[in-house]
Every structure is written in structure tokens, then in C-alpha cells.
């Protein structure tokens, strides 16, 4: 890959309006990020004959390669602090994230992964080795491997330690992909495991909360779980609740499919430590990232079978049916709290501990 230092600077200074700068909000997964993506990318790049193209803003794209097959592509950049956290590290996160994005499209057998590292000069070599070893382990778990990559080094202080970009490619039978917009009225919603683990655990660690106990990230590849589910019944839509959490993906799935979703709060699996830590911090487990969980829409007649298949796998032992797709409050998610009902809105931006 060639260096591209000089290209574009002249154009940049003409293009940018004076006031607008990129802020954290643009990376936070909320409406500002959506707007940015829309204006930066979606409006710029030509449409293709994709089954699932850029405009769909799904977890990956799906394009036909011949009459019988389509290729699924996904990419992600990972910048996480701290690099090594309870339950995982940036390497595991990178591989799992991409393997899972492929799986969210229904592509459970990754063909190839790429790994691009951008490293800050001065970073100990052992750090990078640990990360790469962790990537190898995650690849093994997922039945994937890294087949190509890139390494760049930036000056000390020019970036924060390490950033990883991973791209994943897989092949699916034509029409065999699963879009995130595929929900139909009557479908059941299944969550494959406890929610909020990664987000709450990482935030606690980052903020220096010494909670003791069992709080850790759930980061793991779940392509095998997805395979089991798809083999057991009709999975109509899928998304992994990473940034923005369960609340965000449920809302996205509802609005993309033009349906409403009813969720029973008490059915949603949340672990004791995550629930408790959430209470102390004032943060809802539904609003923060999971990195080893799938949210799927399942045809109602298959829901029980899919649930069993998930629970047969240790990664899916906490799987539960949490809700239903309804022909009401289109684009919105309503939560039955056990007391009353309320809208479950997507959180705006990064969740922070609150005291109010």
C-alpha cells in the first residue's frame, strides 16, 4: 500500500467549512455519527448491484459474485483504552468484532481476515506481541486466520499506542445472507447472552472503579453460535449490540424494518455484577456495548428451537427470548418494565457515570 501523505491536503482546506470539527459525538454511535456517515460516505459513493450495499449501513456489505454465491465484506477499526482489560484485549476485540460482523450478515465461516496495525513509536514490542498472540487465539476459536495485513509506525505522541483495523471476507450462498432490516411482525427477538458486560466492565476499569469480583468483558467470537441458530431455524435479522448496546440495535432493527418491537425487561439476561455496577454508576446495561452477544429476529415457529440450539452452546447458555415484533409504534421499541411501559430509546453518546 503506497504512502499517501501529500494527496488531498489542498482539497481539504477548500472543502472544510470553518466551524465544523469532528468531535467525540461523531464517533459515539448516535445520531450525529449517523449524520456524519450519511454525508461523508453514503452520499458520495456510487451504488452497486449489491444485495446489501453501503446505504443499508448494515454490519457488512453483500455482493453477488456469480449466480450462486455472494461475498460478504466488513471492516472495523479498534481503538480501546486500556489495551488490556479484564476479559480480553484489543487484539481479541479486533478479531471477534470482525468475525462477528461477518456472522451478523449470516457469514459464519470467515474466508480471510486482514490486520492493519498503526503503532506509536516507543510502544514496547512485547505489547504488540501480546496483542498479536491474542489475535491468533481468537482466530483459532473462530476458525479464521489473518491472511494479509499492514504495519505503520507513527511518531511518539502522534497517536495513542495502538490502533487496529481488521477487514473480514466470507462467502455465502446467494440470498443466504441475513440483513439487519429483515424483521417481520410476529418474529421473536432473542438475545444470546448477558448484556452490558463489556461496556460496564470497561468503563469501571477505565474510571478506576475497583469493584472487585466478577466484572469482565464478554469479548468473544460468536460465529459458531450464529451457525447453530441458523441451522435450527429461520433467523430473519441479526445485529450485534456493540457500541450503543441493546437499546441501539433494537431501535435500528425496528426502524430499518419499519416495525415496532415490544421487549420484556425481565427477560433480558443481565448478570448480577453488571446489574449492580450499573446501579452504582447510574448506567443502564442496555445502553452499553456487548462484544460477545447476538440479537436476532427469529420466525416465531422456530424461536423455541433456535433458543435450544443457542443454549446448547456454552457461549449461549444465558440466551433468552426477550421480545416480539409488533405492528404498532413503528420504528420504536417499547419496554415493559414489570411495572409500566416506556420507550427504550437509543442512548446518545458515550455513557458516563452519573450522580444525579
Amino acid at each position: 500500500m503506497s504512502d499517501t501523505d501529500d494527496v488531498g491536503e489542498a482539497e481539504l482546506s477548500e472543502d472544510n467549512s470553518d466551524d465544523e470539527v469532528i468531535t467525540h459525538a461523531h464517533g459515539a454511535g448516535g445520531s450525529q455519527m449517523a449524520e456524519l456517515i450519511e454525508s461523508l460516505a453514503v452520499s458520495r459513493f456510487a451504488e452497486t448491484d449489491a444485495d446489501v450495499g453501503l446505504a443499508a449501513l448494515d454490519d457488512g456489505s453483500v455482493q453477488p459474485i456469480d449466480d450462486d454465491h455472494s461475498v460478504v465484506v466488513t471492516t472495523d477499526s479498534h481503538v480501546v483504552t486500556p489495551l488490556f482489560f479484564r476479559g480480553g484485549d484489543i487484539g481479541r476485540l479486533a478479531v471477534s468484532g470482525t468475525v462477528n460482523d461477518l456472522a451478523m450478515m449470516g457469514a459464519t465461516e470467515p474466508l480471510a481476515l486482514t490486520s492493519s496495525l498503526i503503532i506509536e513509536a516507543g510502544t514496547p514490542q512485547t505489547t504488540v506481541e501480546r496483542v498479536t498472540e491474542s489475535m491468533r487465539e481468537a482466530c483459532e476459536e473462530a476458525g479464521a486466520t489473518v491472511t494479509t495485513g499492514d504495519t505503520k509506525v507513527m511518531g511518539s505522541g502522534e497517536m495513542d499506542t495502538l490502533a487496529i483495523n481488521t477487514t473480514g471476507v466470507a462467502v455465502v450462498p446467494k440470498g443466504g445472507h441475513v440483513p439487519d432490516a429483515g424483521l417481520s411482525v410476529g418474529d421473536r427477538l432473542i438475545v444470546s447472552g448477558t448484556v452490558g458486560d463489556h461496556g460496564i466492565s470497561l468503563l469501571s476499569e477505565r474510571e478506576g472503579f475497583d469493584f472487585g469480583g466478577d466484572l469482565e468483558s464478554d469479548v468473544q467470537p460468536v460465529n459458531d453460535l450464529v451457525r447453530a441458530a441458523m441451522d435450527a431455524g429461520e433467523v430473519t435479522a441479526m445485529k450485534d449490540p456493540t457500541r450503543g448496546g441493546l437499546a441501539t440495535v433494537l431501535n435500528e432493527m425496528a426502524s430499518k424494518a419499519d416495525v415496532g418491537i415490544d421487549v420484556e425487561e425481565r427477560s433480558v439476561p443481565v448478570s448480577g455484577p453488571v446489574s449492580s455496577a450499573g446501579e452504582v454508576l447510574g448506567i443502564e446495561p442496555f445502553d452499553v456495548a456487548c462484544e460477545g452477544v447476538v440479537v436476532m429476529g427469529v420466525a416465531s415457529e422456530d424461536a423455541a428451537d433456535v433458543l435450544d440450539a443457542l443454549r446448547d452452546n456454552p457461549k449461549g447458555e444465558d440466551a433468552a427470548i426477550v421480545g416480539e415484533v409488533v405492528d404498532d409504534h413503528t420504528g420504536q421499541v417499547v419496554l415493559d418494565t414489570g411495572f409500566g411501559r416506556r420507550y427504550l430509546s437509543p442512548p446518545e453518546g458515550e455513557q458516563l457515570p452519573r450522580i444525579c
Binding site: V21, T337, R341, I355
Partner: protein, 373 residues
């Protein structure tokens, strides 16, 4: 929900859906006896959170409206106060803040924006953390942007009285609730039939100070807790007072609130802080409801130590058109405000009702009105 044997079980009792149903039946019965719409105001962001989180409004009787009053200290922190914190951060000082305030915009930007632009702003969970940062960074000035009501001012006072480092200072934007309740109660066409008073603030101040209040304004008040059962019970007691046309006062949160409150904390509070008047974002100037450091603690007052080129008492030009005060008092609906959805949005809020994630205006904007579930 986690079930730690002792405290877990106890807390679960306050989330018992069966009791909740019994209490809502009671509320329906009381409303039937009252025979006309009732407006209750609460003055605590956490009450609003509790009500919203458990979807309580969807089970309350139709004619019972529970409105959020000036009870979210984050929301009522005036733009110039945020500007002061931003100014200090932009001068290269370390500014520490509660997470709640981090993204609240001032006149031009929030502390989060300032951090994006390179300022050293750090979110803390506790005032003591801010003092610890000052110890860890002896060569830099560390300012604690102290927001919150009296509940939160007590910890700030505790930190100031326990020998904080010299490079530590406090920019106080603390507020005091009771005067705000009075302002609302005094508004000429105020439509508030009863107050749900803030349970945790009262943990510090005690409920005794409401005795004069209910008498003077002839409006009942109940001090309520924050679990769903607590809130429903408190509302039921309020409705009983209203039904009986009684300006009664009840402490429905005895496990945390007593008449005198937390006396040592109160004493410490008033040793460290004085009250002064100031603008509550979008509402009004409230007399004696802003807490500033007293003379004895001027040494740690960021406003004394630094020359901040912002007038925290200044009213924002747009607040002339902001009708938050009326909305809170039940006098108006968000869509009657000129600024609603135009100059005043969640990203660019003018008044308090748009700042809070549970603010009346924010909810209206998000759902096109009061959600009807």
C-alpha cells in the same frame, strides 16, 4: 436483578410488582374521589429517572400528571456557569467534573467539546477523586466543577474541610432546592396541587424545613424515596392530602430521611457555603438558591483564585423567550415555546427542560408529545 441475600432481598421488596398494582389501584380510587385533574410536581432528577425508567407514567391514572420541576441540578446550571469551567479548562488548568455535566453545553461549548479541542477535562465520580487528582498533579491547578444540589454539596464540603492540597479549588455551581420550590409555588397561576419532595436532598437537610413551606403555600408535600413502590406510595399519600384539601407534610422515606436530617453534614455544609441569588437555566433568577464558598473558604474558591472572564450571573439572551419555568409549573406545554425544536434542541439546549434526558421538552421533541403508553 441481583439477589444478594440481605440487602438485595430488601430492595426487591421495593420493586414488587404486586404491591405496585395495589398502589396504582389505590391511586385510581383516590383520583375518582378527587374528581378532577391533579398536577404533582417533583423536584428531583432522580425521581424523574425512576419514574421514566420503570415506566410509571403509563400506569398512573390518566388525570394525574407528574411533572418534573426545577429538580435537575445539571439542567438548571446556567450557561455562564459552564462557560466559567470551560474558560478555566482552556487556560490549561485541569478541570474535573461529574459525568452528568460533561456534555452540557454552555454558551458556545461544553466541557466535552473543550476536551475534544485539547483541554484537560476529567470526569470524576466523587469530589474526593478530584482532590486526589490535585495531589497527584502538584504542579498544576486542579479545579472541581462542583454541581448538584445540597446532597452533593455535602461531599464537596467534606472534601474542603479535610485539608485539600493547595493546588485544589472549587468552582461552585451547587444549588439549593427549597427556594426554587418556593418560586414555583409563588408563581401567580401555578397549577401545582402537591409536591413530591426530593428524598436524598432531604437526607441531608431533613424534612423539617418543609413544615413552613406547606403552611405558607397551602400545598401538601411528601418526601419520597426512589424505588417504584416508594414513588407510588408517596403519590398516594399526596393524593390523600389533596382529596382532603389538606396542606399536609409527610416523610414517606424514613429509612433515609429524618426531621433534622444529617446534622453534622448540614453544619459542615453551611460552614463552607453561603447562598446567593442566581439564574437557574431558563427558569428565573431564584433568590438564595445558589451555593458559593463562604469567606472562610475563599482560599479554595476558584472564582477568587482565578480571574475568570465570565459573569456567572448573567442571563442568556435567549432565555427571554424560554418558558421553562412555565412548563415546569404546568402552565404551558413545550410546543408553546418559540424556541422549541428550533433554537432549543437537545444538542443546543437553551433551558433546563431540554438539557435533561428526561426533561419535559426533550421527551416532547423525541416523541412528538407526551408518550402515551
Amino acid at each position: 436483578m441481583a439477589t444478594n441475600a440481605e440487602s438485595g432481598d430488601d430492595e426487591l421488596q421495593f420493586r414488587d410488582p404486586e404491591k405496585a398494582e395495589q398502589l396504582t389501584d389505590e391511586l385510581e380510587a383516590l383520583m375518582a374521589e378527587i374528581g378532577e385533574p391533579v398536577n404533582v410536581m417533583h423536584v428531583c432528577g432522580s425521581h424523574e429517572q425512576a419514574i421514566a425508567k420503570f415506566g410509571l407514567r403509563s400506569i398512573l391514572p390518566d388525570d394525574l400528571t407528574v411533572r418534573m420541576g426545577p429538580g435537575c441540578p445539571v439542567c438548571v446550571t446556567n450557561m455562564p456557569e459552564v462557560d466559567e469551567a470551560v474558560a478555566l479548562a482552556e487556560e490549561g488548568k485541569i478541570v474535573t467534573t461529574y459525568g452528568d455535566m460533561f456534555r452540557v453545553p454552555g454558551t458556545e461549548k461544553s466541557l466535552a467539546d473543550a476536551r475534544d479541542e485539547g483541554a484537560d477535562v476529567r470526569v470524576v465520580y466523587s469530589a474526593s477523586e478530584a482532590a486526589e487528582i490535585a495531589e497527584e498533579e502538584p504542579d498544576r491547578e486542579v479545579i472541581f466543577f462542583a454541581t448538584g444540589f445540597e446532597t452533593t454539596a455535602a461531599p464537596t464540603a467534606a472534601v474542603l474541610t479535610s485539608d485539600p492540597p493547595e493546588n485544589f479549588s472549587v468552582l461552585s455551581a451547587h444549588k439549593y432546592v427549597p427556594p426554587a420550590m418556593e418560586v414555583v409555588a409563588e408563581m401567580p397561576d401555578t397549577d401545582v396541587d402537591g409536591f413530591l419532595a426530593a428524598g436524598h436532598a432531604a437526607t441531608i437537610t431533613g424534612y423539617g424545613l418543609f413544615e413552613d413551606f406547606v403552611e405558607e403555600y397551602d400545598t401538601p408535600a411528601v418526601v419520597g424515596g426512589f424505588e417504584p413502590i416508594d414513588v407510588l406510595y408517596a403519590l398516594a399519600r399526596l393524593l390523600e392530602f389533596i382529596r382532603d384539601d389538606e396542606a399536609g407534610l409527610e416523610n414517606a422515606y424514613p429509612r433515609c430521611v429524618s426531621r433534622e436530617g444529617n446534622v453534622p453534614a448540614k453544619e459542615q455544609l453551611w460552614e463552607v457555603f453561603d447562598t446567593t441569588s442566581g439564574e437557574w437555566r431558563g427558569i428565573a433568577e431564584i433568590p438564595d438558591a445558589n451555593l458559593v464558598l463562604s469567606e472562610d473558604y475563599a482560599h479554595f474558591d476558584a472564582r477568587e483564585r482565578f480571574d475568570i472572564d465570565v459573569d456567572p450571573g448573567a442571563a442568556d439572551p435567549l432565555t427571554e423567550d424560554c418558558i421553562c419555568g412555565d412548563i415546569m409549573a404546568g402552565q404551558a406545554d413545550p410546543d408553546e415555546c418559540e424556541l422549541f425544536g428550533e433554537e432549543c434542541t437537545p444538542q443546543d439546549p437553551v433551558g433546563a427542560c431540554m438539557v435533561s434526558s428526561e426533561g419535559t421538552c426533550k421527551i416532547w421533541l423525541e416523541y412528538g408529545g407526551q408518550p402515551d403508553l
